[in-house]
Every structure is written in C-alpha cells, then in structure tokens.
C-alpha cells in the first residue's frame, strides 16, 4: 500500500515536471516578440536616395548622429538621429593633394575624434580626413602583401561590415571568409586584423574560422560572411559567423578566445546539409550556390544596444520550401523569415523573436537603439521622397 502510494506520488511528480517543462517551452515560444510600434524618419535632400552602402551612427556629446555617404555627389550627410534633421553636409575633396581623385568609396567610417576614413576598395586606399580635409592616404596592400598570394582579403567597410574603433586604433576585419577557401574547401585558419596605430598599420591574424567550415562547402556567399562588433566598454571583438551557432569572443590584448553558444532555436548548423557542387565555372553551379544560400539558414549581423545592454543576433531562419523566390508583379521576394536572438550583456541567451512584418527590409540599415530595433524597408517601399523611413520594433516580454 505504501509502495503504491509512493509510485502514485512519483507519477504525479513526473507528470508535474513534464507539464512544467512543456509549459516552460511554450512560454519561451511566446514570451519574446517583436511588435511594430511606429516609424523613425531621417530627412533626405533631393540629391539623396533611400539606400546607402555606408551608413552608420556616431555618438558625440550625448547625441546620436547618423551619417551616410552619397556616392553621387561625394558628400557625407550627417543627421541628428533624434530629430531626423540634416545637421551637416561634408563635401569630399575630389581634386588636389591627397584627394580621392574620383575613386569611389567602398565605405566611410568616423572615429571618436571626429576624423573620418574614406576607403576606396578599387585602389586599396584608405583616406584619412580631419575637418573635411584629407591628411593622409594609406595603401592597404603595402601592409598586407599580395591579395592573391597571401589569401589576403581586402577588408571592406559598410553598414554591415563597419570598421571597429578602440582607443587610438581602428580595425578592419575581414568579413568575407570565403577568400580562405582553397580547393579542398579547407579554410585557412584566421581572419585578419588591420590595425592602425600612430599612423602606421600592422596586420595580424586574429580570429580563427570555426572548424565546421572545413567539413565541406556551405554555399556561395552568405554562409561565409563574418560580422564583428566591439562592445564599447570592453577590449573584445565579438564575431558572428554565418554558419556557426556560437559567437566567438576575442580579447584584443592577449588574443585569448572563447566561444559562447548563441544558436537559433529554429535550426542547428551541426545538422545542416552541405552543398557538393559550388564551382564558379559555369552558370548552373553558380546559381546552385546562390540557391543554397537562400534556402538554408544563416546567421547575419550582430548588434549591441548599450541602452539595455543587449546583444542581438539576426538570423535568416524559415524556409517554407525550396522554391521560395517570389516573382510576381515585377517584384522579387524570398520566402524567408528573420529572427533576432537576444542575449544579455554576458552573452547568455534570453530568447529569440521573429520579425513579424511582411515588408522587405534593407539589411544594411538595421540598428538596435534604446531597446528598439530600427529597420529601413527597401527603397521601393519607402513612402516619401524626402525621408528615409525606419520601422521601429519593440521587444515585448523581455
């Protein structure tokens, strides 16, 4: 009798634990969500469109400014992020000593001193400006050796792949790790740091590629992207690889590294099927690789919001089927959804929220600020000629 009671008791306990765990899972699923709460507008003049490869935010005297480079008139526009008003236009000198001489910018970057750098990828030149006056040119190749021989990818600058600034140093970090891919798909074991200190540059191998890149081929491009950020209060670089569930944290001072799991609940890269044929030699292989890119999950940009001390890791996660491009009424759309993995300041995963909207967004214009995610729709969905509109999403359930 006693034993029967004990068994019944244990069954109840097990049932309770089971229900609790299920409830916990269900609760997790519903706990965190993104809700569109409005729009944010930045003023544009008649010479500026709605898409800018080089777009970023600057913190200056407790103000947040946004900047972008208008590639049509070589002018940097600075807007007050809060009011949206244009507060400054900087025309880049195109003639004379140290001028950019018509070299189109791959991207620009402002450091904490108000200097900005203008990077012309086609000439591998980095121009340094003070008060809109060019004061130096650095030839990136001179410091990095041969691109071909050393498997050295010229770092790029954009809103997705910004230069990182720490004290007096700036860091270019290779964002496209596919350049390390060799015939047997082995990834050479490093990303590159390109560091400027006291007007000189040095280059070191900094962040190793995760081992899973050596298992085979992960598609054409997206899986081979790496997104880096600094936490402004630390000396660490946080790297999100396209096909790696964890985030790699590298301490700049001693190059010690650790990995922290920050994977999506919607997929597991360890179980992902690789692609066997990615030769670029003919069109079909190329397209096979592209199709793989957009029909398999991938991690994107990593962001940090100092206001609420949260990290956000963007993912491309849902694939209704393998035939997902929509081509209708002159539009191209993908059957892809996006989510944001939210992590606390210690990189402990809190939860993951799905982007609920049905709009197509511009991944280059995604920011986490003041507890909000701000994302600009693609230019064709921008409703006003004189404004760049961001949709504001608030996380509910944090």
């Amino acid at each position: 009798m006693k034993r029967a009671f004990l068994n019944t008791y244990l069954v109840y306990i097990l049932w309770f634990l089971l229900v609790s765990s299920c409830y916990s899972i269900i609760k997790d699923d519903k706990e965190l969500s993104l809700q569109k709460v409005g729009i944010h507008a930045l003023a544009l003049d008649s010479n500026s469109g709605h898409y800018h490869n080089s777009f970023g935010l600057i913190h200056s005297n407790n103000r947040i400014m946004s900047f972008f480079l208008n590639v049509h008139n070589y002018t940097i526009y600075i807007n007050d992020w809060k009011t949206g008003a244009i507060v400054k236009k900087i025309s880049i000198l195109q003639n004379g000593p140290n001028s950019i001489s018509g070299n189109p910018a791959d991207g620009i970057f402002f450091n904490s001193k108000g200097e900005f750098f203008y990077y012309a990828e086609n000439k591998y030149r980095l121009y340094r400006f003070q008060n809109a006056v060019p004061i130096a040119i650095y030839n990136v190749l001179n410091h990095g050796g041969s691109k071909e021989n050393d498997k050295f990818d010229i770092p790029s600058i954009s809103a997705m792949f910004p230069i990182l600034s720490m004290g007096d140093s700036v860091f270019f970090l290779t964002s496209d790790i596919s350049v390390y891919r060799v015939k047997d798909f082995t990834i050479l074991n490093s990303l590159l740091k390109f560091q400027k200190q006291a007007d000189t540059f040095s280059m070191k191998r900094l962040v190793p590629c995760p081992e899973l890149y050596n298992r085979g081929n992960w598609g054409r491009t997206l899986g081979y992207q790496a997104y880096h950020i600094f936490n402004a209060d630390s000396t660490k670089i946080f790297t999100s690889f396209g096909k790696y569930d964890s985030i790699v944290v590298t301490n700049i001072s001693d190059l010690k590294r650790k990995t922290v799991y920050a994977g999506s609940r919607f997929f597991n890269m360890d179980k992902e099927v690789l692609i066997s044929n990615v030769s670029d030699k003919d069109e079909s292989d190329f397209e096979t690789g592209v199709k793989y890119d957009f029909t398999h999950p991938v991690y994107f940009k990593l962001m940090y919001d100092p206001t609420n001390e949260k990290y956000y890791r963007m993912t491309q996660y849902a694939f209704p089927d393998n035939e997902t491009i929509k081509k209708n009424k002159g539009e191209i759309r993908l059957g892809i959804s996006y989510s944001f993995i939210v992590l606390d300041k210690n990189l402990q995963k809190i939860d993951e929220a799905i982007l609920p909207d049905n709009t197509e967004y511009n991944m280059n214009h995604v920011f986490a600020r003041e507890g909000m995610l701000l994302i600009a729709p693609l230019p064709k969905y921008q409703p006003y000629e004189d404004s760049l509109i961001f949709h504001k999403f608030q996380l509910k359930g944090l």
Partner: protein, 160 residues
C-alpha cells in the same frame, strides 16, 4: 556585327551586398524560386518607342548601389554610341536613386523606365541578372546568354 564585351567585375562582397540587400524578404510562398527564364520575349504591340529597336538591354533592380550599379554605370557611359537599342530599367528597386543617377540622361532616347514592369513578368523575363534581347522577327525578341566564368567574377557578354 559589333561585339562588345560586357565585363562586369563583381567582387564577392559586392555580390553578397547585391543579394543580401535586395533579396531581404519575408514570408512569401506562392511563386517558384527559379533563375530559369524564357528564351524569348514578346514585345507588347502597343509599346511606343520600340518600333525600330533591334537590341534591348534589360536591367532589373536598379536603384541602389552594388553590382547592378556597376552594370548601370557601364551602360550609361555608352548611351550615345548605342544605335537601334533601348536600355530598359525594370523591377526598379529605388526610383529616386535611379533618377538621381541618371540625371539628364533620364530623357535620353535610349533609356526606358519600365515602371509598369512590362519586362519583368511571370513567364517572360524575370531574371535577377541583366539581359540582352535581340529582335528576331516582328515583336519577338530572343534572349542572348550571359556567362559566368571566373571565381568571384561575373562576366556577361552583350552582342550588338
């Protein structure tokens, strides 16, 4: 026959930006993923300005920077030398951006802004890549192929 090598150098990064930005899309299920394309295109009878046109260069998704922008640059620099040719911008991603880029050339006789997406329809031309069409008979145009040869590069070939 004049042969013009249409060589567009797309860096991997540029390619990724092209795809990542322009194809950042959500929640669509009803149309097939396909780069397949019809080999021919039937020009609508009532489309004005194409009567004596022999060649059409169709550029989809212009209006933002990236590798499509390089195609646009290439073509725009050669507008004056094009004869019996139309450059059609279709499935335009950013109309304001494109207008700024075209400037005065928006009124060039060679340029056609396909804001109704006549050249980007299901079953017709829906490539995300630039296309070259050549008139073969009546209003029927034949698509000329582009090729991809080098790792990290896309080389297209436009034949006039």
């Amino acid at each position: 026959m004049k042969i013009l090598l249409f060589s567009i150098n797309f860096s991997l990064r540029g390619y990724s930006i092209l795809l990542a930005i322009s194809l950042f899309a959500i929640g669509c299920h009803d149309v097939k993923f396909s780069f397949e394309n019809s080999d021919s295109f039937q020009l609508p009878q009532d489309l004005k300005g194409f009567e004596n046109i022999q060649d059409i260069i169709v550029i989809p998704r212009a209006g933002f920077t990236g590798c499509i922008d390089e195609v646009v640059n290439y073509v725009l620099n050669r507008l004056d030398s094009m004869q019996n040719t139309k450059v059609v911008f279709t499935s335009i991603e950013g109309l304001k951006e494109l207008k700024i880029k075209l400037g005065e050339r928006i009124n060039h006789s060679v340029v056609y802004l396909d804001t109704d997406n006549i050249f980007f329809r299901p079953g017709a031309l829906q490539s995300i890549y630039p296309q070259h069409l050549q008139r073969i008979k009546g209003n029927k145009f034949l698509k000329k192929n582009y090729t991809i040869k080098k790792k990290g590069f896309i080389n297209g070939c436009i034949v006039f």
